[in-house]
Amino acid sequence: MQQPGRAAEIKAIGIGKSFGSFRALDDLTLDIGRGEFLTLLGPSGSGKTTFLMILAGFVQPTDGRLYSDGVDITERPAEQRAAGMVFQGYALFPHMSVEANIAFPLKVRKKSSAEIKRRVGEMIERVGLKGHEKKLPSQLSGGQQQRVALARALVFEPGVLLLDEPFSALDKGLRGQMQAEMKRLHQETGTTFVFVTHDQSEALALSSRVAIFNHGKLLQVGAPDEVYDRPASRFVAEFLGEINMLPLKGVRNADNGATGLCEDRTITLRGNASAVGGNAILAIRPEYMSIAPEAAAGENGIAATAVASTYLGAATRLDLTTRQGAKVTVSVPNEVAASALSKGNSVWLTWPAEKGFLLPDGGQ
């Protein structure tokens, strides 16, 4: 079992990478804490994978410095960085057995054969591959190959484990299982995990912090609930999940929040960043909105007409239009949806003051 003290602490300062005239990564400054589970999230081409490759040492940054435990490792070649890496598609050695794959990093480090045998045995047990030691990767299922890749990357107790979309090839059920397993491995090893994905639910479920990338820039980094509930930009708000956006006029600061007018009703926001003044966009996650016959005075609410519903099993997704034509989506219990649709014009959407937040008008 690894000492948590061995986990690496990484500091990236002003990291940039250009491929010709294409700026893949721009001025990235980020601290990755010891033993943290950081997810790099973003659409494809957002720079998240480039940053992971820079961390691994496979790609040289064009600007900036990279430190591991205070030591500058910007120019250090990949084989000397001792970062464990799990690739998309696993990149197992096809000509080696499961055992030999996992033993490889230890052999390279010239460990004694007794130690290799012991540690490989422990690792195989830990990832649940007992009985498959002698098989070749091609004889394993996707989930089992994934386990071999994890075991191979963790067996030499690296200070940091880098994971490049490791679950993209797995079906949904297996993905959930492997996610749980990875979370457990993170807790057991105490190693710093840096995980790349484009799947926001995966990012929110697994990480201690999420870093959101777009167009080569790091937009926001924070705990999952922080970035989900208080996104700093429209892109982050939309990328992390469905969001309803309503125009808000005459925004001004109020005590512990802000107020503004939305379709002639006063809306209050609490515990939010300061208002910019003038117009802004009010954003609310669909799950925080409820349907009510009336909105009480002083309560946040907006009148809307239900236009369509989609049955999702556990709930129904309801599409509504406000009087001034803004589109809103909510997720409600099935029977609520049915009655809302039958009532036509008369529903109100309400939400608690602390669940709405402001985005700069038209801002990204």
Binding site: A56, F58, E79, F87, M96, P105, R109
Partner: protein, 277 residues
């Protein structure tokens, strides 16, 4: 009117000229050769008995296998190095490698054999130079012996060894090499313990092709061996054209064809025919 032929009919029609040609030019004459081996000069297995007991025939077979084995090892090793550059080098390196691989195909095997005679003979370029710089005092015997044959054959066969290797190197997943380096393996170690094993099918295919080609080589050994380093194909030629011993020549041919056939069967167990091009 029947508008279309079925796919299978179409394929059969397209293949027919080739199959007819192969049948008429190779299969039918070969049956004749098989027939000779059992009937000349008298019916029976006599020629196969000679083949098993005649020390000359046996020494030629042993020499042929030895030369083919050495040529195979040297050609595949050299081709491997060239192919690594060709497939994984910088753009400029690739162009140079491609040039080195393709140019030999444009020069006839005869020209190349005589070229090597000119380079390797007693008063050839190598010996003259080596004597001029005082490295040797007497010319080395580099030709009209097994050494000359091996040099000439290796030179001819390297390009053929390249293609199976190139195909296996191209299909290799780069991420596996990155993974090895990320796990702490040096470039050297990654090459020997990951890259080379992963191109195993290419190495096997390449080696078997070179070996099979070597077994039937005629022109190069005849010229560079100078009659002193006779290989099987030349022995067959001598038995048929010089000492009228058609029965023995035919029997040697049959054994050679069967041996090569068995080796080819082995090739196709390891490598798909497509990979050899």
């Amino acid at each position: 009117m029947k508008a279309y032929l079925s796919d299978r009919m179409g394929a059969a029609l397209l293949m027919a000229p080739l199959l007819l040609f192969l049948g008429a030019a190779y299969a039918w004459p070969f049956f004749g050769v098989v027939n000779w081996s059992f009937t000349l000069p008298e019916p029976g297995l006599g020629q196969y008995g000679t083949l098993l007991s005649d020390p000359l025939v046996q020494s030629v077979f042993v020499r042929t296998l030895r030369i083919a084995a050495i040529v195979t090892i040297v050609s595949v090793a050299a081709a491997y190095a060239i192919t690594v550059v060709w497939v994984r080098g910088t753009p400029a390196q690739r162009v140079i490698a491609e040039f080195c691989i393709l140019v030999p195909f444009w020069i006839s095997v005869l020209t190349r054999a005589f070229g090597w005679v000119a380079l390797l003979s007693n008063r050839g370029l190598f010996n003259t130079w080596l004597q001029a710089i005082g490295f040797i005092s007497e010319p080395l015997t580099l030709v009209r012996n097994e050494f000359g044959v091996i040099v000439g054959m290796t030179h001819f066969l390297i390009p053929f060894a390249v293609f199976p290797l190139a195909s296996s190197m191209r299909s290799l997943d780069d991420r596996v090499l990155l993974a090895a380096r990320g796990l702490g393996s040096s470039r050297m170690r990654t090459f020997w313990s990951v890259f080379v094993p992963m191109t195993r099918s290419g190495i096997i295919g390449s080696a078997l092709i070179v070996f099979v080609f070597s077994l039937g080589f005629f022109v190069t050994p005849a010229i560079l061996g100078g009659g002193r380093s006779v290989m099987v194909a030349e022995l067959i030629y001598l038995r048929i054209f010089q000492s009228p011993d058609w029965g023995l020549g035919a029997a040697i041919s049959v054994v050679l064809v069967l041996f090569v056939g068995a080796l080819m069967a082995l090739v196709f167990r390891y490598v798909r025919p497509k990979q050899l091009i």
